[in-house]
């Protein structure tokens, strides 16, 4: 029995309903929000700011530091005790690696940009939502970046390549692989690649090709969210264009 129809009725290349926002945390220097299905990420950026302790400082550039955290009630099942866990530490690290190729902090030697991501609710794909939200927050903070990073959890369920797996699909009783991917939007270069499950090389490459399209959809939402931050901007386009040409 092949996986011919997805558990929630989506098409194979269809992502769950998504919502993206920018500037949702006023205290932060930049903030973002990304919701896909029941997975919901808030991201806040503070910095560039002074980095302590001193030995972490890099005199050539600023650094980016990510902090991934699930709220105690955000998992299916019992309460998650607050505090650092190996899982969140690892995800924080891969977030840093997935974002740092686009971020340019050379203007700010010895400084740090902190990215905090918190989840009120999760249903698979949380590290991908974290990256998509964090990238909105970084852009909103005015951090120089050569491009946006977008992220989607691809996967293969019983032979079918699917975009944006849910928790139920990850737990489907068949051969399943879960492949979180992050891509630089323009070049489609990969900055996050993890996999657990079982997959052939051919299917892996097929999944990554399919990720391009899925990431494009995420990018569109990121862009709309950042544009919506400045309502009425460019309303005087024509007038200004004239002034400039004079």
């Amino acid at each position: 029995m092949a996986y011919t129809k997805r558990l929630d009725g989506r098409k194979f290349d269809e992502l769950r309903p998504m919502v993206a926002k920018a500037g949702n945390i006023p205290n932060a220097d930049g903030s973002g929000y990304f919701k896909v299905g029941k997975t919901e990420a808030y991201a806040a950026v503070y910095g560039p700011r002074e980095l302590h302790p001193r030995f972490l400082q890099n005199p050539k550039t600023g650094i980016i530091r990510c902090h991934y955290n699930m709220m105690p009630f955000s998992g299916t099942g019992t309460r998650i005790r607050p505090g650092t866990k190996r899982r969140s530490q690892e995800i924080s690290m891969v977030m840093e690696l997935s974002l740092s190729p686009v971020v340019d902090l050379s203007q700010f030697p010895n400084s740090v940009v902190d990215v905090f991501v918190e989840f009120p609710s999760t249903d698979a794909g949380s590290r991908c939502a974290a990256i998509s939200a964090a990238c909105i927050a970084l852009a909103d903070a005015g951090i120089r970046m050569k491009d946006m990073v977008t992220s989607v959890a691809m996967g293969q369920v019983d032979g079918a390549i699917c975009a944006d797996l849910t928790y139920n699909e990850e737990a489907y009783d068949a051969i399943v692989s879960d492949i979180p991917v992050a891509m630089i939007n323009g070049s489609k270069e990969i900055t996050l690649l993890q996999m657990d499950g079982e997959i052939t090389k051919a299917d892996l490459i097929k999944s990554l090709e399919a990720a391009k399209d899925a990431c494009g959809k995420v990018h569109k939402l990121q862009q709309d969210a950042l544009e919506a931050r400045f309502p009425g901007a460019g309303t005087d386009k024509k007038v200004d264009a004239k002034e400039v040409s004079q």
Binding site: R144, D147, F230, G234, D236, V244
Partner: protein
């Protein structure tokens, strides 16, 4: 391959967004070329100026520049001066000899001159490649803040706060009678009677909210007029009329002529505030 511009002038663009295709166009500030494409480095407004593609950032930290007047807060007292917070990731140094005219004995308690938490209006005298910053208070218009309130706005919005030739800040000062200082780091001092300080603060918040829109000066004037009624321009010279005599009503203290930076802006008349940002940027390049 034909060249074309792929964004509208003044449109909001995001990092990585393609602004123009082809070799006929050149990358300007906050943009870069990748192959045939010119792309944005930041979230900002596209600025199409002839063949040069630029982006004016809409957010981000304050970048310290020599001769900028800023409002900074003392965070530590050192051997021969103070460490002050500038609203950048980097603190600045204020040396004793740059802080006061009077002779300071070796070993004298510096907290009697400036205490931790005090705000000063200072001017940046040096910025190194590693962003070590020196500031001074020993110029006219630079002083320790003793009264009033201090509020923070995004540094990108400072040009709009000041307005062309200081028109915006002049307007608020005229209608509220407050002494005001707009630091280039986005820290603003408002000092006057309590009700008028509140009014000035409201005006600032309005500018902040609508900074990326046009027709702001009229809007602010209408607002101020609706609260305090007509105030003749002679009540306090506005930046528009006499840009070189920019003393506000609040700053009677003749030893401290206020607002040298309004004059600085007044000295570089600009078409609109976006250009003000651009011109500052190009100064930086030279």
């Amino acid at each position: 391959m034909s060249s074309e511009i792929t964004v509208e002038h003044r449109a909001v663009v995001i990092p990585g967004q393609v602004l123009a295709q082809g070799m006929d166009y050149l990358p300007g500030e906050e943009t870069y070329r990748e192959g045939e494409q010119i792309r944005s480095k930041v979230l900002g407004l596209a600025n199409v100026n002839g063949r040069v593609m630029k982006v004016t950032p809409l957010s981000g930290p304050y970048i310290p520049k020599v001769d900028d007047v800023i409002i900074a807060q003392v965070s530590d007292i050192l051997m021969s001066g103070w460490r002050v917070q500038t609203g950048t990731p980097y603190s600045a140094m204020l040396n004793v000899r740059d802080a006061t005219q009077r002779f300071v004995r070796k070993g004298e308690d510096l907290s009697r001159i400036l205490e931790i938490g005090d705000y000063v209006v200072g001017k940046i005298t040096n910025v190194t490649s590693q962003n070590l910053i020196d500031i001074t208070m020993k110029e006219p218009g630079l002083f320790k803040i003793n009264s009033g309130r201090v509020i923070q706005v995004a540094p990108q919005k400072v040009p709009r706060m000041i307005g062309k030739r200081g028109s915006m800040i002049g307007l608020i000062k005229r209608y509220t009678g407050c002494k005001m200082v707009v630091g280039q780091n986005g820290t603003i001092l408002i000092d006057g009677n309590a009700e008028r300080e509140e009014l000035a603060q409201k005006a600032i918040r309005m500018i902040e909210e609508f900074a990326h829109q046009s027709g702001l000066t009229e809007r602010i004037e209408d607002f101020l007029k609706s609260v305090v009624g007509e105030v003749p321009e002679t009540a306090a010279p506005s930046g528009d009329r006499r840009p070189r005599d920019n003393r506000s009503r609040g700053s009677d203290d003749s030893s401290k002529p206020s607002k040298p930076f309004v004059q600085r802006n007044a000295d570089t008349p600009t078409e609109n505030t976006d250009k003000a940002v651009d011109e500052k940027g190009s100064e930086e390049k030279k």
